[in-house]
Symmetry: C2
Subunit: 211 residues, 2 copies
């Protein structure tokens, strides 16, 4: 039994090492540009171990994307929960929006977006699931929040879906677009820059929808 | 001499066939997922012809991206010229913005954007050149146009660069983002939908910056 537990721990360590190596390589080289030998080398395991644990390259790819979707979904659910409790436009909605910008633009969102965009022809259903479960969830919650604040008379919003989309793209659009075209290792926006730009974008949003 | 002209024409035809095949395959499968054999098959030429005409796979990739950048730059220059002549916010700037949305969202912009985003780690300088020469050119011209209309007292714009970015991402952001995550062959926005959404986005922009 202790041997069984030791084997389980070894498999768990291998799985974690393989996953970390696969994330690095797939995001740097794409699906076709990554081979199992390189993943095995980087993870310090044998090729056979990868096939035993994951089945193969496509299954490994689906597995790391699924993990990334779950992480994104978990974060989006946290954002959604925070938005649901927002009582006022100032300072609460503004703060939530600035935090969203920090999480999206300084976090792990860009590499997974880039990978899914790159592989959309090969894995169209993964791209669609990500889109619905992560950014889609944030957008739907933003819309609900704006509708609620409008019902309370705190914003003048007629179409909450349109307003949510405008808020999201004013705040996240330019930074996300620039980041997608920037290789890893090149200069990224600082948290101070992200905060300043998010506040300017939020001011613009209020100019449209404040009473 | 007629033999020389015939050979030139054959090379020209081969070059065009190879380019068309390479665009299809690179945009569908990425750089690593495309091989010269497949390009040769699809173009109906020999592998040797591709090596003779282009040098190799990387050169072929650079060549088709360069062509796409030139096309995008040519279109961006046309847009820039049209914007430079815009005399009024309504209907001229609105019309120009709706046309921009049609060109970007219903045209050939999405596949080249997706390809460059996918290959940004391998070809970072191509992504940067595209960004500066196509969307960058449009954005700079939008800023100049908004500054000019502000100087004429037709818009209340303090920071024309920020306002241009806001206008561009209100109008193009949501549709571009959705399209990047959508495989070819799936439903695309109709020109009627694009026009309606661009008008709503332009109304939001005017709510921020109209006197």
């Amino acid at each position: 039994m202790s041997t069984g537990a030791g084997a389980d721990r070894r498999i768990e360590r291998s799985r974690a090492a393989i996953t970390a190596a696969a994330i690095d390589l797939f995001t740097a080289h794409g699906f076709a540009g990554t081979n199992i030998d390189d993943v095995a080398d980087r993870a310090g395991v044998s090729k056979k171990t990868i096939y035993n644990v994951f089945g193969g390259k496509e299954q490994l790819f689906r597995d790391i994307v699924e993990q990334a979707i779950q992480t994104a979904e978990g974060y989006s659910a946290d954002t959604a929960a925070a938005l649901t409790r927002v009582p006022e436009v100032e300072p609460n909605l503004r703060d939530a929006v600035v935090q969203l910008a920090q999480a999206v633009l300084a976090g792990q969102v860009i590499p997974i977006r880039r990978l899914l965009i790159a592989e959309v022809e090969r894995f169209p259903e993964l791209a669609q699931r990500y889109y619905s479960r992560a950014p889609g969830l944030v957008m739907r919650t933003l819309a609900t929040t704006l509708a609620r604040l409008a019902a309370l008379g705190k914003l003048d919003v007629a179409d909450a879906d349109v307003a949510a989309e405008q808020l999201a793209f004013l705040v996240l659009g330019p930074g996300m677009d620039r980041a997608l075209f920037r290789a890893s290792g090149s200069r990224v926006d600082t948290t101070t820059e992200i905060e300043a730009r998010a506040n300017i974008a939020f001011d613009a949003f209020l100019a449209i929808y404040r009473h």
